[in-house]
Symmetry: C2
Subunit: 431 residues, 2 copies
Amino acid sequence: MQILDLKNKIGKSSLEELGLGRPVIDEGDLEKSVTKILKKVKTKGDSAIRAFTQLLDGVKVKKLAVTEKEIQEADKLVSEELKNAIRLAASNIRKFHEAQVNRTGIIETMPGVECWSRSIPIERVGLYIPAGSAPLFSSLLMLGIPAAIAGCEQIVLCTPPDKEGRVHPAILFSAALIGITKIFKCGGAQAIAGMAYGTESISRVYKIFGPGNRFVTMAKQLVQKDGISIDMPAGPTELLVYADDEADPVFVAADLLSQAEHGADSQVILVGSRESVVRSVRLELDKQLESLPRKEIAEKSLANSKAVLIEDETEAIKLINAYAPEHLILNCINADALATKVINAGSVFIGNYSPESAGDYASGTNHVLPTNGYAKSYSGVSVDSFVKKISYQKITEEGLKNIGPAIELMAAAEGLEGHKRAVEYRLKNKG
Amino acid sequence: MQILDLKNKIGKSSLEELGLGRPVIDEGDLEKSVTKILKKVKTKGDSAIRAFTQLLDGVKVKKLAVTEKEIQEADKLVSEELKNAIRLAASNIRKFHEAQVNRTGIIETMPGVECWSRSIPIERVGLYIPAGSAPLFSSLLMLGIPAAIAGCEQIVLCTPPDKEGRVHPAILFSAALIGITKIFKCGGAQAIAGMAYGTESISRVYKIFGPGNRFVTMAKQLVQKDGISIDMPAGPTELLVYADDEADPVFVAADLLSQAEHGADSQVILVGSRESVVRSVRLELDKQLESLPRKEIAEKSLANSKAVLIEDETEAIKLINAYAPEHLILNCINADALATKVINAGSVFIGNYSPESAGDYASGTNHVLPTNGYAKSYSGVSVDSFVKKISYQKITEEGLKNIGPAIELMAAAEGLEGHKRAVEYRLKNKG
């Protein structure tokens, strides 16, 4: 972890000039390869998915759909302990997300002019859950629970099978807990294509959610051209920790490592005003790293990570808002006050007892969050991600008399006589 | 307007097979030309914008920024009548949109685990207002008012100048009414590039809103690759009218024409179960068309439009939800009941006295809506379009004891030991 002394420099140069630019990923021929996969699946359906699964994942899958029997068997393979943990997490996620359901009433903007909007579930949604380096059943909870709360009629789940052609039992248990029954054994770009275009077994969806590798991310980007919407653009996961003198270096180091172990491209940043704190964290990092099972991955990520020295909290907030981290831990005495000054971040963890992993699994907030600086304009996944809002207006004759003259004047000024007449004819007829 | 008899066929074939497919637009070399413009503006800034404005719009603009003096002069050029109309529309739009502001409290998902989210305005937004065939000051109200309600710190407005290098006074008056002061005289892809990358005079923004021609739409699509977000993908504007026996053919024809006059590519669909109604509307269309100033445009649009005969209301609703129209007028006796069955549409107009032009200008709802079937997964513009939500969690030692064991079990099951330790170390230290 490289130390950058940026005292009195924050806000005066770009992140790139400060050495805090995000990695630019060269996609090379990725777009071409993924386009080929999409086309094949679009025209050949299931057989193309099966062929790519054999070619790319090395697994022969006869039937893409997971059977009822497989779901029942999976139930026996998950320990009661883990089941209870998943149930507790699901309950907290449900509580937090249920409060997001919007209920707005009718607004009478003028007498006789009633306007309202209704949140309506997106009819068909697709969830992608990777299982490459780890079976991410927690991501399934984060996507499936808000989809269920929103009331989506069809929830399709695609997840890659293991070498024996099976889906991880914890994924099947979590799906059953949420009530998801359409589960398909496929991963990568071919899974995204299946959900975007539909195949003999997979129904076409209108919106696709979920994390994934470069192929998945590129496929999600490309199917947008065909009218399918996606949750958000994706980049490597990120954590920024702001630590003051009171922060426990053991906790800070553990948090940084929990992020670094995700992938070699994970972005980890430590921000503080005291070099002594930064040095203690670095020592602790080395110590904890030794026994970490995913040491190799974490080491690679840490090699690109930065510890940034800033002057004071004002500079810290400036840096945070300029960087817009996906995850932000405020491990400092006045974390509450600082939290209110954050305007660009995905999810904020306040104080010494709020590790990122709490939000990753069980606090209740969503862990599908904007990376790569997108927190400046994107929100994380919420119930709102699974609905669209239709607006309504119901106008009476009196109402149209009230707003009609304004409409006529404005339409005429915009040169749209037809718009004017739609009002005029109505008022003339009955005037 | 071609009549399609689709009785008993709805839901059994695709829209394309039924003859209701949307036009597929061949972008040809558009992407290349727009990419060139974006690159030039990115590297050369204002001078490139000025050069493209001269080349493409045939106007020499010395200073891109509209001056305070120009705004004051514009105020004198707008009639008091039109000003009052704009004020009334703005007031209704404000009333409807203010109710969209989200206020969610703190959710204690378990004792000691507090989660909440805050809606935070997107710091810098850019609004594009076209002025080619008409100065769309109504679109400025639809974008500027929710941006102001959201509390966006910087609102940048770009709009093409007329041949004399001036901005239409009604646009400047509307901007002043909302409180927008950063106004720039430029249009097309070069304006989008200016807002996306920033120039000497235009500040860079994080999200770009607004309608526009093919160049603008392509530019918005392309700048997304550089991390700028946009309001929604755009296609030609659309109206579907469902009319029963009681619908007044004069009103229905006027509504269809108000849509058709937008552009030659506007999509207009009439749906009904009675051929007699459809025939009366067609006669009325011919009559009203004669004296319409934008007759030529409307004629072209009507040439591609369809009148669809369906069996009954059940088929009507099926067709509506399959087509997902941007605007939907329910001009029928039981419009209220039907409205509750609509699940895919942008904005719904209920009854005989709710013309689309009411929503276009003054009812209070937003007129920036999803076209091209996107209503299946996208909402129209609202205050939410101008904010992003940050989630927060504040966990006490007791709280972490409550959720910690679940986090540890789940992290271990996902093979993420570092995530587990971030909890473990905290509980061990103080346990």
